[in-house]
Amino acid sequence: MLSFVQVLTSGIAIGCVYGLVALSFVLIYKATAAVSFMQGEVLMVGGFTVLALNVGLGLPLLPAILCGVVLVATLGAGLERSVLRRALGQPHLTAVLLTFGLGLIMRGAVTTVPAASHGMHRLALPFGDEPLRLGALAIAPQHLLVIVATVAVAGALSLFFRHTRAGLALRACSENPQGAALVGIPVAAMHTLAWGLGAALAAIAGVLLAPITFVHLGMGLIALKAFPAAVLGGMTSLPGALLAGIFIGVAEALAGLLLPEGGKDVVPYALLMAALLLFPGGLGTALRQLRR
């Protein structure tokens, strides 16, 4: 039983990271109808940016994280302004290939810095590695941090979309761009905001992942797990994406513990397919139906 709960908490923590990256996919897709295949690379760039500010420039961790996330958000917004805007109105494939190419460029750019690409790097947490003990249960501080930060980010996003002008405007754009334009919402600016926010979310996920898997060139691979989460969430539902991320994280972890060897790599994806068969619109739609 103890090991079950132990593995469950790890699964939830990793699921939160999947969920955050899935959120960044969904945010961009909702606002601009483009699937971004560079989120993993943005995550990696986010990790390296914070590392560079913290270790390279000697900024304390918290300001380094803040500056790093803002810088990556600016990068996302800048890319929208300069390049991605041109993919609007083109077939889906254009944006997919464009973002994929941009991802390759980011990866290449990081490899040109020898200090960055020649090893893995540690981003030191302020509260050490000593696990938190709740009775016999031991929770790694980095796992706790991921869960707390994810809840905070989800809460902040929800407030932003419900109670701020920019958030409401962004929602309006994603519901009906023409209508939004007619009532005076600057749709183009909203697209920039969406890409910026998407990049910021990926960067936050990168920072949260750093104490768990370290900062290295391949850390963006996690997007391969986050994309199914976004699909399972229904591609347009933010809470759906987060839930789906946690679902995949937990399913993977528990399958590894409980199922015979070999089953664990298949089962989470079999479950994913079953969930999509049952709720073709994704978990987000299912949630909405439940509420009605």
Partner: protein, 386 residues
């Protein structure tokens, strides 16, 4: 069609006559050596120090007047661990740069894709960083290797650990690919020699983020010894997870986890981890004067501290230089191969193994030794295991 064939044959004849007895890549004052590395892909962390180590050895040889008056030139192509790019790189090095031999090509997929081309073009394929049997078996005049398959090291290491510590339930955590499976074969063979079988095994996919379920599973099975077929990151994750949950089991990692990064990243969590070392890590602290001088030279030349991969790069280049020296002033592929087949090296500054090649055995070394992380660094705890 026929006239063309004759023409081609005639052309080939003239070309080979024109080239004379001299082998490609060898001129009066230069020997060109090619190497396909990963400088931008997933194992660039290995490729860069390997290249730097080789460069340093060649520069040392050139500073000492070259090999029989010929300067050594290293031509490195970056394939990014991608077999398609590796094939293009091999073609360029063979046809345009006309290298004399290939040295330390990095990565099993790269080696598998390019080795046939290299030997078909008549170039020696030397000491690839791919612990795969086909790099030296079946015996081929142009294929030489100095790294044994993981299987060989792991069988000996597992047997030694179980013998000396009296474990009864040995388990395995492995990466679900060729590397992991090969280690599994070695561990099973080692256990068989002491009359045991693998008690429990569990795997993870490359790039896995979290190993908590695997560690919980091994713990539930009651393992008293865990072999890790992992790379650096997963080694740290597995040890950290076990220690976090209060499980103080002994773990042994393959040579892939024997890296200074393991204790740099893992800190206190990896204290006590056993590892298989083929070449010791060149620590500056407590180094012999010769090694300390080498570390200083490396640092001055490349602006970074050398690691175990730098030492390996230096060692493979050193084997090349030694063989080329022995081949004499009339360097040709045949004389080089003959020299290499009689090469028996002495102890080096790193404390690495002595390499022995013969006409019947092109694998220079089969033995690793055990190390353990103590006080935040790897310390060797056994001699080479036979």
């Amino acid at each position: 069609m026929f006239p063309f064939r004759h023409l081609a044959a005639a052309l080939l004849c003239t070309l080979s006559l024109g080239a004379g007895a001299q082998s490609p890549g060898v001129s009066r004052d230069e020997i060109r050596v090619g190497s396909i590395q990963d400088l931008s892909g997933p194992i660039a962390m290995l490729g860069s120090p390997v290249r730097d180590g080789m460069l340093l050895r060649f520069e040392d040889a050139n500073a000492a007047g070259g090999v029989h008056g010929r300067r050594l030139r290293l031509l490195v192509e970056d394939a990014g661990y991608d077999p398609k790019r590796a094939v293009l790189a091999a073609r360029k090095l063979i046809q345009r740069d006309r290298v004399f031999a290939f040295l330390a090509n990095l990565g099993t997929p790269v080696v598998m894709a390019t080795m046939p081309m290299v030997v078909e073009a008549g170039r020696p394929h030397l000491f690839p960083f791919s612990p795969h049997e086909s790099t030296y078996l079946p015996l081929h005049p142009l294929k030489f290797q100095m790294f044994a398959p993981y299987q060989d090291y792991m069988a000996a290491a597992t047997r030694h650990m179980v013998d000396s510590k009296g474990y009864t339930r040995s388990c395995l955590l492995y990466q679900d690919d060729d590397y992991g499976l090969e280690v599994m074969k070695g561990v099973e063979a080692g256990l068989q020699e002491v009359g045991q079988v693998l008690h429990e095994r569990t795997s993870y996919k490359r790039g896995a983020t979290d190993l908590s379920s695997q560690v919980a599973r091994l713990r539930a099975a009651g393992c008293d010894f865990v072999v890790l077929a992992t790379v650096v990151r997963e080694t740290v994750a597995a040890m950290a997870e076990a220690r976090k949950t209060g499980w103080n089991v002994d773990m042994l990692v393959t040579a892939s986890g024997y890296s200074a990064q393991t204790h740099e990243l893992g800190g206190a969590a990896v204290e006590g981890l056993y590892g298989v070392a083929v070449l010791p890590h060149p620590y500056a602290d407590g180094a012999s004067p010769a090694l300390a001088a080498w570390i200083e030279r490396y640092r001055a030349r490349f602006g970074a501290a050398p690691n175990v991969w730098s030492a390996m790069g230096y060692t493979v280049a050193d084997l090349f230089v030694q063989a080329a020296e022995r081949a004499g002033p009339e360097l040709s592929t045949a004389s080089f191969v003959a020299a290499l087949e009689n090469l028996h090296t002495d102890a080096d500054i790193f404390g690495g193994p002595r390499y022995r090649f013969s006409a019947h055995d092109h694998l220079g070394n089969r033995h690793g030794r055990l190390a353990q992380i103590r006080d935040g660094r790897w310390q060797l705890i056994s001699d080479y295991l036979h």
